[in-house]
């Protein structure tokens, strides 16, 4: 009765081919120029390098969270022995493969933390706790000595990147070796290691989220923070996987091997993570709002006042209410034309989430330092050419990293033992 099962990839092109080289060149040069331009322009806006570094951090967190989400996607597919996702898994593997390059992009952030202590400068650049005056007067002495200090921050970051480097390489390389020899025991090995890998992933992401974004407000704390960071990253990863698939198919790569059933499942997960992110964000907010303890509400205060109230409402509508309704209908989730708009809008909101986390903290930090007697003036602008160039630059670099990593190699695991299952995947 039913059609013969498809057992092999039928697309004429399953790789970027020659296009990858030019995209790497274009993305790499364009990205560096734009980030350089943003840096240069920052000298002419209020608060100079500090405002550049904040925007830079927003973009870094945006892209690293997406790549980490993709890494988790790969791990969880192996852990659950998933069959449906084989045809789209390579995209996530390559996205996770960009983590080592993102480590290079971490250098400016690391410098902002380490350099002042080497040169003895007390200038405020990005993390408030770097300022010795602040850490000695405000922070608990233990916390400054054993956690929030430049050396340990650098050591921990090295550990995180080493772990993610190892994980992302392991799964990408094994999967590619399988393309060559079709050895199904490679899948067995990857499945075997997936459970400890998830553990390593969880431990590193928990502390990375504390270090990189929660510690922007050094005296604030929230135990749910890593889950919040993770939830947003997963949403970003699913949107990016969909976006890359749409782009590739538009260029005639991957053909009909990726079907609307795959899109349907990916968008279901997108919908799920819209919901999950909202659940986590709401839980954090309601508990802090309800208990109303000053050391916790200080984080929401600047985000609910001085114009940021509108930003918070935008996040509520754009990251929760509207996408919840607009990603619910099945027909929409299966429509490629619709998904173009949906995932771009969702990625914009995910970016804005990080913007909302990082930027208000700059204002708070300036005020806090002013109270300590280091008056650095008041930050003025919100979104200008520095922000635009920095984002575009990092996005181009991400494209370059992705294309460099993809090269002219296949973008579908050609000989995965469960490929047949994925190629014939149908959502009932």
């Amino acid at each position: 009765m039913h059609a013969v099962k498809k057992t092999k990839v039928t697309s004429p092109n399953v790789s970027l081919g020659d296009a990858s080289g030019s995209l790497v060149l274009l993305g790499g040069v364009g990205g560096l120029v734009l980030i350089g331009a943003a840096f240069a322009m920052s000298f002419f806006v209020a608060n100079g390098v500090s405002s550049f570094l904040h925007v830079y951090l927003v973009n870094f967190l945006f892209f690293i969270s997406i790549s980490l989400g993709a890494l988790f996607f790969v791990l969880i597919q192996h852990l659950t022995r998933a069959g449906w996702s084989v045809a789209v898994r390579r995209i996530a593997e390559v996205m996770a493969g960009t983590i080592p390059y993102l480590a290079i992009l971490f250098i400016p952030i690391l410098l902002s933390v380490v350099a002042p202590s080497i040169y003895g400068a007390s200038e405020y650049l990005l993390y408030l706790w770097v300022n010795p005056k602040y850490s000695s007067e405000i922070l608990a002495p233990d916390k400054a000595a054993y956690y929030l200090n430049p050396t340990l921050f650098g050591v921990r970051a090295a550990v995180y990147f080493a772990a993610w480097f190892m994980l992302s390489r392991y799964y990408l390389n094994r999967s590619r070796i399988q393309d060559e020899n079709g050895d199904h025991t490679l899948t067995t090995r990857m499945q075997f290691w997936s459970a400890p890998s998830v553990l390593l992933f969880a431990i590193t992401v928990i502390f990375a989220s504390f270090d990189w974004s929660m510690s922007l407000a050094p005296i604030w704390f929230s135990t749910i923070w890593p889950v919040y960071f993770f939830a947003g990253g997963m949403l970003g990863a699913f949107c990016t996987i969909i976006l890359i698939l749409l782009m590739l198919q538009k260029r005639g790569i991957l053909g009909d091997d990726v079907t609307e059933d795959h899109y349907h499942d990916l968008s279901k997960f997108t919908f799920g993570f819209i919901f999950f992110w909202s659940y986590i964000a709401f839980s954090q907010f309601i508990l802090i709002w309800y208990a109303n303890i000053p050391e916790e509400t200080i984080w929401y205060q600047p985000r609910l006042n001085n114009g940021w109230r509108w930003a918070s409402l935008l996040l509520l509508c754009g990251h929760t209410l509207v996408p919840f309704l607009l990603m619910m209908p099945r027909t929409l989730r299966r429509s490629k034309n619709y998904l173009w708009y949906a995932v771009i809008a969702l990625l914009a909101m995910h970016w804005f989430d990080h913007f909302w986390i990082v930027m208000p903290q700059m204002f708070v930090s300036f005020n806090d330092l002013a109270e300590l007697g280091t008056d650095l003036g008041t930050p003025k602008h919100i979104f200008g050419p520095v922000e635009a160039c920095c984002f575009l630059g990092m996005a181009l670099l991400y494209v370059a990293f992705f294309c460099w990593e993809a090269g002219d190699r296949p973008l579908i695991p050609l000989r995965d033992p469960r490929l047949t299952e994925s190629l014939n995947h149908k959502v009932h």
Partner: protein, 465 residues
């Protein structure tokens, strides 16, 4: 690749080239039906059923007597006293609500994730969910003191009562959350059972049985149209039940976390409670199903692979809970807030150290044994570990509820909580209620969702497309 005889009986192998079967022993459709229906059709249940039922009824009777004593004498018969006004009743409530999470997770969330292995275990797990929620609901119900005005919990307009429940109180949200969850879970369970109840009706030899099952199955015909609507309703209920699985324990966690009490007020509570609930729920499913499958010869339907998968879920959620414990400790230190730090040190090294380390050992260390396949595939080992998990999860709620209350902001009111015999008796008695309901379910209703199992059997799957 040909399927070997061994693979028909042992389905725990993990070969990426093909999926292992979900029904072993080479059973066909007819044998699946007869395996399940034979439990209810047998003239008498196995002797062990009578022994267990007798024990359960004794415990249930004890619960009844103690409830009467409580209502007649007042809540003073419990150990609750200043400053620990929430003692065992709330601990037991949270414990049972947590147990009641696995069933709906299996039938709703695993359904949406297309985890076909859920079909053999979902029915029994859902039944267990509902019975656990019954036990859970009892405790706050009698905790209010004057049980005859329990309806005051609901916002019912009345002339006599010049007040409304406080809508800002998470305790009221609990009434809605648990009430909704109980309603939807029961509907889901019952609706899913209709085709199987019809099978019972069709096979019934006795007129009264036929009539009883006929009423229960609402005149199910098994026509294509009925099946079509059934599947639509199932999907809709699954989608509705999914957020409910999260919401119930989230609201229960709010009971604690919206307050300002150190040890209660922390933002990780909602997802951490949900993970703990799934953890304890699956442990209870294993504790019940391993003996049940042996008692009723269901080994080919509830296979080793089903049990192994549940063990994996236990180790995963156990680690989530373990991470939450550790992060709470870390953040208590990181926050630099003295009361927070002191509370956590007190929990681990203060007067309740024994409860804390029982919790930690049972929930975090012992389930790590499930990393070994030999343990994951040994029915005895998994039951023992699951019982430890349930002990650990009870102690988790005890640690949260009692330790934080006993060391409040005023050192002069600090005290050491001691339960009375009524506390202990009611908790033990609640197992009697739970087991009585579960044993009745096993005897009279379809323990395995026959229709769903058939849809994931290999020949069924091929015809399906």
């Amino acid at each position: 690749m040909a399927t070997t005889i061994d693979e028909v009986y042992d389905n725990t192998w993990d070969d990426p080239r093909k999926r292992s079967p979900l029904v072993t022993g080479g059973l066909d459709y007819g044998q699946v039906t007869s395996t399940v229906t034979s439990i209810a059709e047998a003239p008498a249940p196995p002797r062990i059923w009578y022994i267990l039922m007798a024990i359960s009824l004794c415990l249930l009777g004890m619960l009844g007597v103690l409830l009467l004593h409580l209502i007649v004498s007042g809540v003073g018969v419990w150990g609750n006293n200043n400053p620990a006004f929430w003692g065992w009743p709330i601990v037991n409530f949270v414990f049972w609500v947590g147990i009641g999470h696995a069933g709906t997770l299996i039938s709703a969330i695993l359904f949406l994730f297309r985890q076909n292995w859920r079909t053999s275990i979902n029915r029994a797990a859902e039944a267990m969910t509902i019975f656990a929620v019954v036990c859970a609901g009892m405790f706050p119900g009698v905790h209010i003191g004057r049980v005859w005005v329990a309806y005051w919990l609901f916002p019912i307009p009345t002339e006599h009562l010049a007040m409304w429940p406080n809508f800002r109180s998470p305790l009221l949200w609990d009434v809605f959350a648990v009430g909704t969850y109980a309603t939807v879970s029961t509907l889901f369970w019952y609706m899913g059972m209709l085709p199987d109840l019809a099978t019972f009706r069709d096979r019934a030899k006795n007129k009264w049985k036929r009539m009883a099952y006929g009423i229960l199955c609402l005149g199910w015909t098994g026509s294509a149209r009925a099946w079509h609507r059934y599947e639509m309703a199932y999907t809709i209920l699954a989608a509705l039940a999914t957020p409910l699985v999260l919401s119930v324990h989230t609201i229960v966690s709010f009971d604690f976390a919206v307050s300002q009490l150190p040890g209660w007020h922390t933002t990780i509570f909602p997802p951490y409670f949900v993970a703990g609930a799934i953890f304890s729920g699956f442990a209870m499913v294993i504790t019940l199903l391993v003996p049940a499958r042996a008692m009723f010869n269901l080994q080919h339907l509830i296979t080793m692979r089903h049990l192994e998968n549940m063990c994996k879920i236990i180790v995963a959620t156990g680690l989530m809970v373990g991470f939450a414990y550790t992060i709470e400790f870390f953040i208590a230190w990181y926050s630099g807030v003295k009361t927070e730090t002191q509370t956590f040190i007190m929990r681990a090294f203060g007067p309740y150290w024994w409860a804390y380390w029982t919790m930690f050992t049972c929930n975090v260390f012992i389930p790590q044994l499930f990393w070994f396949k030999a343990v994951r595939t040994s029915p005895i080992a998994m039951v023992v570990i699951s019982i430890f998990v349930n002990i650990g999860m009870w102690f988790e709620r005890f640690v949260i509820t009692v330790t934080s209350l006993c060391r409040d902001f005023m050192p002069s009111s600090w005290a050491y909580f001691r339960p009375t015999y009524v506390d202990i008796g009611m908790f033990v008695g609640s197992f009697g209620l739970f087991m009585t309901l579960f044993l009745l379910f096993c005897r009279f209703l379809p323990v395995v969702a026959m229709a769903e199992v058939k849809s994931v059997m290999p020949h069924g799957d091929e015809e399906h497309h």
